[in-house]
Amino acid sequence: MEEDLAILDALIFSSETPLTVERMREILPQYDRQGILGLLKTLAEHHEARGGGFGLCEIAGGWQFYSRPDLAPWVRKLKAGRPQMLSPAALETLAVVAYRQPVVKADIDRVRGVDVGGTLKGLLEKHLVRMVGRKDVPGRPILYGTTKRFLEVFQLKDLTELPTLTELKDIQS
């Protein structure tokens, strides 16, 4: 048990992207899904109790170590340049894609009241948005959706973690 915790620790430490439970099970086949999730819970608690500079988080369908948010000012000094911020226009476009996916460009244009061609291209280049198919209407326009990278950047487990838009409407009224 202790040894298996250490193995999981090493696997997640060595992984470039969030490590999925399925991948962990391929390497530790003696555990079922629940078993792995139990180990992960214990491991996360160990890191939490240690009070170190990073912790284990479930993001974008997998598990990964992330530095503590309150330590960001120091880590930023280590990293190149300023953090890449998204413009308000890019964020609005991304929000429409995230909530309305799969969505065609014309629908995003209509919601935002402007042509989103430029911002959409930027989001595609940043791998936050991808083409997910074509709509079965005349002209077969491209349908857009968000990527795994989107979940990772915005630190979401999955899309259901997004607050629903109706909740937002309730806040306004």
């Binding site: 992330y66 960001a72 990293k79 190149a80 340049g81 998204l86 919601v111 402007v114 630190q155 937002l168």
Partner: protein, 242 residues
């Protein structure tokens, strides 16, 4: 190196309209169209005066507002055939729906930005790469308000105007004039380099005319042209009266 220039302007016509509604503390379900249309058009004028690029979408919404206003002025169509259909809805309804939808997504965008973000608030091993030591200097964003930018833009426009004036100048150069100028210079100095012939005002047009004039003078055997070696200075001699 690129700098991101952020202007605190509107994200689009709907954003501007929402701003006006909030500024006037208006009930979004009961928008006084006349007031809002007037203020909306005033803002468009202001943005034009600031030389901001006004996207066509702003004008489309202006037209929509005017259309709604005109429909509100018309008497409601009479119910035909004892009120078969209730088509006399509020002409503002569609716009209100669009505004509410946009407002919801604008708020959703803010919520996204308030999250803990990768490479801004939390970091993982590896990416983004660490800064190489020599580049670790603090890179501070340039701060400029919109008027500074407009001034800078107008300075650039002023320079463009000067460039236009130079093009008008071209009309004055003629090949005959240039030939006479060159002969006058050579009469004084006997020999000159091609570069010296160009004197102070080097423009593309002047270079071309000077070159044509030299060719023409060679053909007329009024000058001789020598070059000591490849890429050396081209020396031009006047042919003396023998």
């Amino acid at each position: 190196m690129s700098y991101e220039i952020k202007l605190d302007v509107f994200e689009g016509p709907l954003d501007l309209l929402l701003y006006l509604i909030r500024k006037n503390e208006i009930d979004i379900y009961n928008i006084p169209i006349a007031l809002i249309t007037r203020q909306y058009l005033e803002y468009l004028d202001l943005m034009k005066a600031l030389n901001l690029d006004l996207a066509g979408e702003y004008l489309v919404l202006a037209a929509t507002l005017l259309h709604i206003k005109s429909r509100l002025l018309l008497p409601a169509p009479e119910q035909e055939d004892g009120g078969a259909e209730d088509e006399t809805g509020d002409p503002r309804a569609e716009l209100v729906q669009q505004l509410l939808e946009y407002q919801a997504f604008k708020e959703a965008a803010l919520q996204l930005d308030r999250r803990t973000l990768l490479d801004r608030d939390v970091f993982k091993r590896g990416a983004p790469p660490e800064a190489p030591p020599e580049e670790r200097g603090e890179e501070t964003p340039i701060e400029a308000d919109i008027f500074t930018l407009v001034e800078a833009f107008q300075r650039m426009l002023a320079q463009l105007d000067q460039a236009d004036l130079m093009e008008i100048d071209l009309e004055r150069i003629s090949l005959a004039d240039r030939i006479n100028e060159i002969m006058d210079c050579l009469a004084l100095k006997r020999d000159m380099t091609f570069a010296e012939l160009m004197d102070e005002q080097i423009t593309r047009q002047r270079i071309v005319y000077t070159f044509l004039a030299v060719l023409e003078l060679m053909k007329l055997r009024m000058i001789r042209v020598y070059q000591a070696a490849s890429f050396a200075a081209i020396r031009i001699f006047i042919v003396g009266e023998e």
